[in-house]
Amino acid sequence: MSAPVPLRRATVDLAAYRANLESLIARLDPVEILAIVKADAYSHGADVLVPEAVAAGIRWFGTVELAPALRLRRLGLGDEASFFAWQLSPSDDLDAAVDLRVDLGVSTLEQLDAVAEAARSRGGVALVHLTIDTGLHREGCLPSDWPAFVARAVALRDEGVVRLRGIFSHVSETSEADDQAAARVFEKAVADAEALGAIVEKRHMSSSSAALEHPERRFDMVRMGSNGLGIPVTEGVTAADRGLRPVLTLSASVAKVKRVPAGTGVSYDYTFRAPAETTLALVPLGYADGVSRRAQGTVHVVVNGARRPIVGRVAMDQFLVDMGDDPVAVGDEVVLFGPGDQGELTIGEWADATGTIPEEVACRVGARVPRVYRGARS
């Protein structure tokens, strides 16, 4: 017997990833792009994506937390690039951040003092981005505390233990008015910092869609996460509209086929009963693999070129597709979402149908689903 067909897979199209980044770089030139690879590059696999992004011309990466930045540095991936972490925790190894030249987003006097102390003890220089809270109220120094915060940063720079690399902020993307207000807070924070002697290399506040749609808010650098993955997060905008191609395809192979009579109850609680005799195909992906229970009755999947509904409850490891009278065999491919070439939903459409955002859909593709990489640099 031949080798088994894998039960499930998440195919990552690296050629599409590089092409997306190259297209974004060309479009945003001369503004620098920082590629967000947090959450293991939205579960696509940061170890694989980072070298691909470097090949496409990316020189800045963001990881949110420090630990993954340290890990990528220690693996020697993207050595020529800068890594930026901004959600620091009291247990973080700041000494290693200094040694491994990881850029740190700093929000409080305590954090400033801690990174400065790490730099002193390691005989190095901490690479610092001062974080201003422009309204999102997560990380960031509140504007009222900003002058004292900047003054301390300048003193530490003058001492030679801190290098002022950037001023940065996150915006809420709630409304254009809110984001404009945030931009004004940011501009004032930059001006106030400069007046206090803090001249930085990179001013950055915009991410993804806002960065594309609002050139006036790009400053020196923009952070790109989902767009690089071919996921435009703006409502009503498709990847194709932006000249981008979705990178991730989630698929599985039919594990069981059965013909059932009219009236047959399907899966837990019999929330679906076959209205007529039909063929059911069992797909070995469940909510533990990232297929939301909200996919029942809201999405279609593609089997042998045709769009088919998920019927009955999505279970932990499996769901059922109603094939009607169409032929289907054990081993046939079922595509849940992908670039859309076979009529499958894109990840954005899948997210809309299941009441969430595409980033969540990507991140929650589980560990049982092997990542298969295509289109690596030759």
Binding site: M1, S2, A3, P4, V5, L7, K38, A39, D40, S43, V64, E65, P68, Q87, L88, S89, P90, S91, E110, D133, G135, L136, H137, R138, E139, S172, E173, D178, V254, A255, K256, K258, R259, V260, T264, G265, V266, S267, Y268, Y270, P284, Y287, A288, R293, A315, M316, D317, Q318, L320, V330, G331, G355, I357, E359, E360, C363, R364, G366, A367, R368
Partner: protein, 363 residues
């Protein structure tokens, strides 16, 4: 992955739970189901705890999960029931993994590979993995023909929990399958129907073995029963430290979408756990957490790696431990509370927790 998020699993609770469940269903044998990374608890460590507590079998969905257990040195009998097209069962045979087969193709491949025994998986009404009634004569006939070399050790099905009446129909179909096998001289010693949900109310469904998943982890699949009623203890506690505390004036928006605008001045705390860790974004603005004995609401949209809680005027500090959920007997929110908040089920709250999270095991 968020290194500050900790999933603590009390292995004493895992052992205790299966001991309690074994007493309830005695004299039926007990299988502990450790699929989906042991419902998020960590497959290998959970399997070890269950085996130590004397479960008769371990159950997983697919062979890869079974192989993971074997490679970690888990030696108990392991049953796997969800197979890839064209699966050859060679590795299953080499590692003494027992497949539950639901088609003639699977049976023949398993026999060729030389597995020690098989279970037959039949569909009695759930319309999922098992062989439908029309397939029984051929499948059972082939199984009988091979029984001298590869015994049929078990007959299994899974119930839909649709209603007492529907579950009764499933039991009747299961009895028909048993009778058909009996006519062929095949008498599998292990007949298993019930999982946690059906194990209590349908005594007949206990058959000779019960498969326990959710209940073994101390979580209730029953709408009308808490685990405490049965003397079970939730094994899992999910925690993360406060990384930021800040004062917010009344009327300011918080986190993406500014879903939350406090009506009066308040303090918020940032907790570095989000949907990339497996926390469902649908729980935004609805779920609660605890710090010590105080309960706080999740505010704004849950982000990829962070959520925000409103701590009012309480003296919460950076580094304070936030408990997302754990044992409600200790004043914590439960996994069921989170399930309700996200409009889902307890199973998905635990099973969707990211595999990469730091898991710590209490002895």
């Amino acid at each position: 992955m968020t290194h500050d998020v900790t999933v603590t699993v009390d292995t004493a609770a895992l052992r205790h739970n299966v001991e309690v469940l074994r007493r309830i269903v005695a004299p039926s044998a007990v299988m502990a189901v450790v699929k989906a990374n042991a419902y998020g608890h960590g497959a290998v460590e959970s399997a070890r705890a269950f085996v130590e507590a004397g479960v008769d079998w371990l159950g997983v969905a697919d062979l890869d999960e079974a192989i993971t257990l074997r490679r970690a040195g888990v030696e108990a009998p392991v049953l796997a029931w969800l197979h890839a097209a064209g699966e050859n069962f060679v590795e299953a045979a080499a590692l003494d993994i027992t497949p539950a087969v639901s088609s003639v193709d699977q049976l023949e491949a398993a026999v060729r590979a030389g597995v020690r025994a098989v279970h037959l998986a039949i569909d009695t009404g759930l319309s999922r993995n098992g062989a439908v009634e029309a397939e029984w004569p051929e499948l059972f006939g082939r199984a009988a023909a091979h029984a001298a070399t590869v015994p049929v050790e078990g007959l299994m099905t899974h119930v839909a929990n649709a209603s007492a009446e529907e579950d009764g129909l499933q039991m009747a179909r299961f009895a028909r399958a048993s009778a058909l096998l009996d006519e062929l001289g095949v008498r599998p010693p292990l007949r298993h129907v019930a999982a946690s949900a059906a194990s209590l109310d349908y005594v007949g469904a206990r058959a000779s073995m019960v498969r326990f998943g959710l209940a073994a982890y101390g979580l209730s699949p029953w709408p009308d029963r808490s685990v405490a009623d049965l003397g079970l203890r939730p094994a899992m506690t999910v925690t993360a430290p406060v990384t930021t505390v800040k004062r917010i004036p009344a009327g300011e928006g918080v986190s993406y979408g500014y879903l939350f605008r406090p009506e009066r001045d308040t303090s918020i705390a940032i907790v570095p756990v989000g949907y990339a860790d497996g926390i469902d974004r649908a729980a935004s603005e609805r779920a609660s957490v605890t710090i010590g004995q105080r309960t706080y609401r999740v505010r704004g949209r849950i982000a990829m790696n962070a959520l925000v809680i409103d701590v009012g005027d309480d003296p919460v500090e950076i580094g304070d431990e936030v408990v997302l959920f754990g044992d409600p007997a200790l004043g914590r929110r439960s996994a069921a509370d989170w399930a309700e908040a996200q409009g889902g089920i307890t199973y998905e709250v635990v099973a969707c927790l990211a595999a990469g999270l730091d898991r710590r095991y209490l002895p």
